[in-house]
């Protein structure tokens, strides 16, 4: 029964997403607003389907319904309750179920938030993009990642249960969902970015509308990455918090571009600059979440932390290519309108610092992306299976990290857009730098002499505090 019910919900979700897309396309093409208003019912159906299929799979896992192949392969009577619940996202098909649930949740929240403006073309286009992403994920569930296949268990059958290594820490229950909240959350600002490009409403209004969504996604991704680092440090023996494993890098890449976007979008809000850059960063962030999902689930990259190899790789790759082509095409199409209104006064201004910060984040992302994809490129070129070790990532990212830290201290001291005294970069910057260095020196000395470092660290903070005043 669970298998049939689950399959029914998958079919409902796919049908509702497709009908929602058709309704929006018709409404936008004919100008008939009834079709635009009607989309809320399709979104509601998508939400029901996503919640339903998730609940059915959890029910099957909790009741150990081994007639569902997923439960037969990954469930067990011996698995403790919490990890049994988390079994859903510990394997590929279940992880897509979780992804769809979160995506449907975001689509539902966007529809609710803009429920009075569903006839607005901008909102309609954003919902169209969101529902197209839903169609893609429901297609995955209906096709290569179908989780409700049937199985005929024999008497006394018990499944193997999840990998024991996934049952050794509480974070198994929290790290993946929080990470997915971040990954999937970037779909919302991406959808609005595309909508603004399509409608030509390229002012700063949509940025303000989507700021909270971006912050939520970025916050969840940050917490998810931190939880993963904590987990690996506690139990996995990966040699610390971060091992530059391709799967870890896959989560870091959208975080880097997302962080850059959160900084540069302030420049656009205040001065109307960096429009192309911001749109590119936002689209890159979403594209990188899809690329990361492809890397994690296709088995193309040797990692200690991947899902098993599956047939969903080509679909993800095609989706990634589509995103890149569409966004690059749209940005090129709107190139003239996107031209900046203002100019950067000086590099030693706050705007200049934001720009340098962005270049550094972009450079950081490029270095990590290159190191992550290099084995793929080499294998495609000459068939050699290689891996890029930590020395590359450490040597290349450390200087960028230090420069970012330096900028974090400097940027607040720089003058803002056209107001305030000239940047006191040399005087205050020197003091602050001296302050931060003395902090570290005093901290280190405290550790050496065995005195509580916080008792010694205050003198180091003083120069920076004076400067800030």
């Amino acid at each position: 029964m669970n298998a049939s019910l689950g399959a029914l919900f998958v079919a409902l979700g796919l049908a509702a997403s497709l009908l929602g897309v058709f309704s929006l396309v018709r409404g936008l093409a004919t100008g008939d607003e009834r079709f635009l208003w009607r989309v809320r019912w399709f979104v509601a159906a998508v939400l029901v389907a996503a919640v339903g299929q998730f609940a059915v799979m959890e029910r099957a896992l909790i009741t150990r319904d081994f007639t569902v192949a997923f439960v037969a392969e990954h469930g067990s009577h011996r698995t403790p309750a919490l990890f049994n619940f988390a079994t859903l996202w510990s394997a590929l098909e279940g992880s897509i179920l979780l992804w769809v649930l979160i995506l449907a949740g975001y689509v539902g929240m966007v529809t609710w938030r803009f429920r009075q403006r569903l006839n607005d073309k901008m909102v309609a286009w954003a919902l169209l993009v969101l529902l197209l992403v839903c169609v893609f994920f429901f297609l995955l569930l209906a096709g290569p990642a179908f989780p409700f296949a049937k199985f005929s268990p024999w008497a006394g059958y018990d499944g193997p249960g999840p990998n024991p290594l996934l049952q050794n820490h509480l974070l198994m229950a929290f790290h993946p969902p929080v990470l997915y909240l971040g990954y999937v959350g970037f779909t919302v600002p991406f959808a609005f970015a595309l909508a603004s490009l399509i409608t030509g409403r390229l002012g700063e209004g949509w940025l303000l509308e989507t700021r909270r969504w971006t912050l939520i996604a970025w916050g969840c991704l940050s917490v998810g990455i931190l939880l993963g680092a904590w987990w690996s440090y506690e139990v996995l023996g990966w040699g610390g918090y971060w091992a530059w494993d391709p799967v870890e890098n896959a989560s870091l890449l959208p975080w880097l571009t997302g962080t850059a976007y959160l900084h540069s979008v302030m420049v656009q809000e205040r001065r109307g600059m960096l429009r192309v850059w911001n749109l590119s960063l936002l689209c890159a962030t979403f594209a990188l979440t899809i690329l990361g999902t492809f890397l994690t689930r296709s088995g193309v990259i040797e990692s200690v932390h991947t899902f098993t190899e599956s047939g969903i790789g080509p679909m993800f790759l095609a989706f990634f290519a589509l995103i890149v082509v569409v966004t690059v095409g749209l940005i090129a199409w709107r190139g003239d309108v996107l031209r900046a209104e203002g100019r950067i006064d000086a590099v030693a201004s706050r705007t200049g610092a934001f720009l340098v910060n962005n270049l550094l984040f972009a450079g950081f992302a490029f270095v990590v992306l290159l190191g992550t994809l290099y084995p793929l490129l080499v294998e495609a070129a000459n068939g050699d299976r290689i891996s890029v070790g930590n020395p590359y990532f450490e040597r290349m990212t450390m200087p960028i990290g230090f420069m970012l830290l330096f900028l974090m201290a400097m940027a607040p001291l720089c003058r803002g857009a056209g107001r305030g005294p000239r940047c006191s970069l040399v005087v205050c910057g020197g003091r602050r730098l001296a302050g931060s260095w003395s902090c570290w020196l005093v901290w280190g000395w405290g550790c050496v002499v065995g005195r509580p470092p916080w008792r010694l660290v205050w003198p180091g903070l003083l120069p920076a505090g004076r400067c800030a005043r």
Partner: protein, 172 residues
């Protein structure tokens, strides 16, 4: 007022400012690309399964590489060149390789759980080899110093792990 028609010394033509900036940017980018390429080349390690690493041994000699394998039962804690080490045997497709991992192994390290190691071939036999039930003992061993436990969703039951080990002719 009469116009001054005295010939003036001609100014030397100045390179446009923009051209100079572009040249500097190109130089910086070229330097960055060179640094990237060199660092990437230095940090690249070839990835082998155990049987491939044994097969490629004559070519690999002292070069460093990554190897993935599943430790067989029988782990010997010992010291190698004054450092703590754990000695065990890998097996894949009926091919055996002895391993001496220097340093603390990962917390979840145990027989039957796949690990990825970094190191190189070394001639000789590590201490404690005689205690291993299925040592290759072929005059070579993998000396490794970096270990990560594979943490994917490849579900291997205890029975399947035992079967893998049995396939190598070792009793788990």
């Amino acid at each position: 007022m009469a116009e001054d028609l005295t010939p003036q010394p001609s100014r030397p033509p100045r390179l446009p400012r923009r051209r100079g900036s572009v040249a500097i940017i190109v130089l910086v980018l070229a330097a960055l690309i060179a640094v990237l390429a060199v660092t990437l080349g230095d940090a690249t390690l070839v990835f082998y399964e155990v049987d491939e690493a044994v097969e490629e041994r004559p070519e690999l000699l002292a070069s460093r590489f990554r190897v993935v394998g599943t430790p067989l039962p029988g782990l010997v804690e010992t010291r190698l060149d004054g450092e703590a080490a754990v000695v065990f045997t890998f097996c894949a497709s009926g091919v055996f390789a002895d391993v001496a991992h220097v340093g603390d192994p990962a917390e979840l390290f145990q027989p039957g759980v796949p690990v990825v190691l970094q190191g190189s071939w070394q001639a000789g036999s590590p201490p404690g080899l005689a205690s291993l039930p299925a040592a290759a003992n072929d005059g070579w061993f993998l000396r490794t110093d970096h270990m990560v436990v594979k943490h994917d969703n490849d579900y291997r039951t205890d029975e399947e792990r035992t079967a893998d080990i049995d396939a190598c002719g070792v009793t788990g």
